[in-house]
Every structure is written in C-alpha cells, then in structure tokens.
Symmetry: T
Subunit: 69 residues, 12 copies
C-alpha cells in the first residue's frame, strides 16, 4: 500500500424509509461514476417533515475512494 492517495466527496442521500437507505442511495449513486469507493462517514442526519410526519430522510455523508495510481 505504498503512498496511496484517496479523495473524499460530500453527498446528501435521501430516502422515504430510513437512514441506512439514504446512505445506500448516496453510495450507489456515487459508485456509478467513481471506482474504488472504500468507505463512508456520516456528517449530518436531517429530514423533511410534511403534515406532521417525517416525509423523507436526508443524510449527509462523505465517501472516500482511492485515486488511480
């Protein structure tokens, strides 16, 4: 693992059903254009409320991926 360099990008995943699903949506979306995603970190969890109920979750994550050598 000599001197690898990684990049982190910040995404907001949304979901009607829950926090894990919002994370998964963001990771899946990122994986369409980024290879080598290695990890994610949750930065912030929030959501939208409508008619007195949670309408959807918004989870801000950072995903880290290895840059090609």
């Amino acid at each position: 693992m000599p001197n690898r360099v990684y990049k982190k990008v910040e995404l907001v995943g949304t979901s009607l059903t829950g926090i894990e699903d919002a994370i998964s949506n963001a990771v899946t979306k990122a994986a369409k254009t980024l290879n080598n995603i290695d990890w994610f970190e949750v930065v912030e969890t929030r959501g939208h409320v409508q008619d007195g109920k949670v309408a959807h979750y918004q989870v801000v994550i950072k995903v880290g991926f290895r840059l090609e050598e």
Copy 2:
C-alpha cells in the same frame, strides 16, 4: 417566500425499536401543538442500556417550523 421566519425547538424522542422511530415519535408529538413543521435535524443519538441490552433509543432532534405571518 418573502421574509419568512422559522423557529427551531429541541426535543428528545425515545423508542424501544430504533432511531427512525424515536425521531418519528418526537416529530409526531411536536405536530400536536405546532403547525407548519418543515424539517428536523438530528443533534445527538444515545440510549439506555438494561441487562446488557439496548433498552431504548434517545434521539435529540431540532424541529423547524414556520411562524405564522
């Protein structure tokens, strides 16, 4: 949307089953006395342990709602 003002209040929802349910309980409770709730933000996640098992979740959130003009 001319010059709307919102207020944020801090609540702690609890749940026997999970984080989303604790959030939902706090939002539902708030909606009984507050109109126009628009969003929530998770501030802190913690919980109670009994007999070596998670007994309930305690999720501190802020809910934001629009003040009547």
Copy 3:
C-alpha cells in the same frame, strides 16, 4: 444515589445490516465483561463500501457504566 461514579469506554460496533445492530453488537460485547452498563452515546457513524455497496456499518459509541462502590 450518593456520589456514584461512572466510567465511559469507547467502542466500535460493526454490522452487516444497520446502525442499530452495530450499536447492539458493541453493547452486547461490552456487557460480557462490564456490569451495570447504563447508557450509550453515538460518537460517529461510518462504514465500509465494497463493489459500490455498503458492506458493513461501523458505529463508534461510548458506553457508560457504574463503578462498584
């Protein structure tokens, strides 16, 4: 409750299925060697990604337990 003293230790629970399960795994593990665990606090939520999908969750928690008098 005269002058009780508690200790907090920091653990990382992992899970293939979700955040609550990762918390539960860490609490259960801690309870094998610690009596009187009273609460947990989530410090950080992150996870491992493989083949563009969340492979497992890593939840950093602190657990608090009462020291024997």
Copy 4:
C-alpha cells in the same frame, strides 16, 4: 441585577437582500411576542439558490431575553 434569568430561542430569519436584513427580520418577528430581548447570536448562515443566483438568505440566530421576575 440580582439573579436575573434569561431564555434563548432559536430562529431562522430569511431575506432577499442580505444577512443583516435576515437577522433583523427574525428579531422583529420575535419582538412581537417577546419582551425584553437583549441580544442575538448568529448560529449559521446559509441560503437558497435559484437559476444560479442567491435567491434568499437564511440566517439561524438565537435571541436572548430576560424573563419577568
């Protein structure tokens, strides 16, 4: 000033024109129902973007006011 107690509430002021105006809108609104407001603290500054331009500012503030004795 013997043992006065103050309360702080969190508001979000919005404005089409700028940060000071958003603060002012929130303070003015609060002053309609709260007496004795003494100070404000900016917690967060953000805003909405439309068609590639800042559409309005959202400034989260706390206002502090003295509780009646």
Copy 5:
C-alpha cells in the same frame, strides 16, 4: 417508559456568588412554569466583571423536561 418525548429549553442563570448558584437560579425559575424537569446541561460559563472583580456569573444551561402524554 414507552416512547416518552422530552423538550429542552436554553436558559441563562445569573448569580453574584457562583456557578452552582447561577444554575440553581435558572432551574428554579424554569420550574415555575415547567413541570417534570429531569436534567440540565451546562452549555457555557461566563460572567460580568466590574472594577476588576467578578461581579456576577452567567451560566448558560439547557433544561430537559418530559412532555405530558
């Protein structure tokens, strides 16, 4: 303890004599209008200085109380 919801409000207690007294003044004041206060958290400790001496303490706390079911 099924699904209880708590609210937190932010107060500033002041005192001529010390930090604990400032906390106590804020809690006592809050208890006049709020039932079921369960805990407080110190957010910030500051104070006023006059003629080169501490004139009074200002302690910002949050108090948490259970909302009626």
Copy 6:
C-alpha cells in the same frame, strides 16, 4: 422527490465590497459548470488586510446541487 442525491462542493468567494458579494461571486462561478444548485452554507468568513484596511473578503461556502437522475 424519490431518493434524490445531492453533492456539496466547497468554494471560496472573494469580494472587495462585502460578504454577500463574496458569496454571490462563488455561487455565480459554480453555476457556470454545475446545474441545479439548490443551496449554500457559509463555512468560514475571513479576509485580507492591506495598509490597515480590509482589502477583500474571503467567504468559504459549500454549495449543494442535485445530481442528474
């Protein structure tokens, strides 16, 4: 709004005249290459001083935009 994903990028806008102008410069610049910018968040405000006067403002913001589905 089913499962939209947003990205946040961090920019530093500068301006000779003020904070709002620095924000606006960064948002306008970002909008040249990014569609669907929805919001900005101020991260840090600083500036350059020359000859004992504020020479220009530097405002670090994050802008959030919706990724194409």
Copy 7:
C-alpha cells in the same frame, strides 16, 4: 522525562453539593485503582433535577495518569 506514556480514562463523578465535589469524587474513586494520576480535564457538566431543584451534579472528566515504565 524520557518518552513517558500517559493514559486518559473518562469518568462521571456525581455529587449532591457541587461541581468541585463531583470532580473530587471521580478522582478519589479513580485513585483507588490507578497510580500516578497527574491531571483531570472537565469534559461536560450536567445534573439531575427533582421537584424543581438541582438534585445532584454529574461532571464528566478525563483523568490522565502515567503508565509504569
């Protein structure tokens, strides 16, 4: 003092009377099993409220001690 190593552990001291006493209770308790405690750092101050009065203080501290060489 060549290359000494210290460890920090996190404790919660409680007291009916005040913050210093809560700190002291935690330090005294720690000193029963740890030698060479050198310092403490206050992490958080909170407490329990009963019948509208502060019932006890809970002070979270870290204590640092030198590991035997």
Copy 8:
C-alpha cells in the same frame, strides 16, 4: 519568506450599521498600534437588541500580523 512568525489577537468590533462595518472598525483600531496586519478571521457574530430592533452588531474577529524580524 524564510520562517516568518505571525501573531493573532482577538478583537470585538461593534457597529450600528452592519457586519462589514464592525469588522472594519476592529481592523482600523488594531492598525493604530499594530503594523503588518495581513488578515482577519470572523470568530463569532452577535449583537445587541433594543426596543425590538438590532441596536448594534458585535463581530468577534482575530487579526493576524507579521512580527518584525
């Protein structure tokens, strides 16, 4: 630029008119006794409220200046 050393001092500028003016007032004041001021960083923005209106802004900044070699 071999091994220059800078110092930072913390100031609070006030203004009746706005945030930039408060920053400017603090920088101008500092420049009366300090040479070589290079930059400022906003630490906190707050203000005083009177009769339900913002009476003046208080902006806490740090200014950085090069120490003479």
Copy 9:
C-alpha cells in the same frame, strides 16, 4: 456606544480551592494591567492531581476589555 472596540486575552487562573476562585485570580491579575475589563468566558476547566487528590484547579478564561478611544 458608537463603534467601541474590545480586545480579548486568554488566561489560565489557578486555585487550591475551586473553579470560581481560579477565575477570580485570573481576573484580578489581569485587572492590574488592563482597564475596562467587562466580561470573562470560561474556555476550559482542568486541574492537577497529587496523591490521588485534586491539588489545584486550572481554569482557562478569556477576558474582554474595551480599548481606549
């Protein structure tokens, strides 16, 4: 109060007896060379432990004072 400027300096007060005394010692010391001290803010509370007992408190504060016009 037209455009006053304040400065903040960071001090560490120590005391054998308690937190308020440590604050007071730092404020009194500062007042010997600084006029117009208006307020203090506690930044950090820590202390030295000797023979398993709190030996002295170290309280880091900032004191704010008005600069002469």
Copy 10:
C-alpha cells in the same frame, strides 16, 4: 485580485515515513490534475498499526486552488 474564486477538495495522503511526506504525496497527486493549487489545511491525522508498530500515516487535508477565470 478581483473577485477570484477558489475551490477546496479533500484528500487523504498516506506515507510510510511521516506526516509531512503524507501531505506531500497528496499535494503532488492533486497537482497532476489541478492547476493553481495555493494552499493546504490539515483536517485529521491518523494511521494504520501493524504488529504493534505504526505501519503508515494517513493525513486528511484540504487543498485549495484558484478556478480559471
């Protein structure tokens, strides 16, 4: 320097030998695809341990670069 805009990206440099080398590796890598890099900021320092020894350093940095006008 009229109204320049900068972008910041977050990278993780790794190194077998030390923190400066990890920073340097990330900066060098970034400079292959980005012109006009002006500065870096260290966000976090961590590393991997193997067989009880530091195996490599991981330094999270942000690099800032000027966007072409």
Copy 11:
C-alpha cells in the same frame, strides 16, 4: 468480518524529537498489553517548553484494537 467489535483507548505519547516519534512511543507502549491494534487517531498535539525551546512533544492519540471474539 462478521460483527467485529473494537475498543479505543486514549494515550499521550511524549518524545524529545518529534510528533511521529511521540505517536510511535504511545503505540509501542500500548502494544505491550494490547493485541490486535489496528489504527491510531491524533487528538491533540502539544508540548513542553524549557528555556525558550521545545523540550518535548506530547501527542494525544486514540488507538483502536479488535476485541477477541
């Protein structure tokens, strides 16, 4: 890697020569009593000054290690 649990402990390494050496000293010391150390995170860097020179470095780290299954 099914449901592994890790523990983190906080240490302060010291060194006469530099930051990496202080980290290394803490990790080496920890490895004498802990198996399976996987990573470290730098929490704080500070040091002692004597006769106007850095006398030694004190680096606060957390080390993470896998608990035996």
Copy 12:
C-alpha cells in the same frame, strides 16, 4: 504553586522543512520577548503550495507562559 496565573498567545510559525520546525520557529520568536514560556498547543496545521509542491508549512500554536507575580 499558589494561585499562579498564565497567559496564552496565539502565533503562526512557518518553515520550509516541516511541522516541528515551524513550531520551533514560533516558540523561539516568542521567547525573545516572553519569559517563562511553559507549553505550546497546536491549533491548526496548514501550508502554502507552489508549483504543485509544499512550499512552506504554517502551524498555528498557542504558547502559555507564567505571568510574573
């Protein structure tokens, strides 16, 4: 050590060669005008990049020194 008072000042040391050297430069510079410097704390590490290479390090530190009694 009865009731000593310390002051902390914030400096930015720079160096072409590394972080320890930047710290050392700031401490050495401070020691020319301040007696009794006891410790330093690293606040922030950053640096300047030129031609795709780290040109110099900028380390923000606080130095603490005992005020004469």
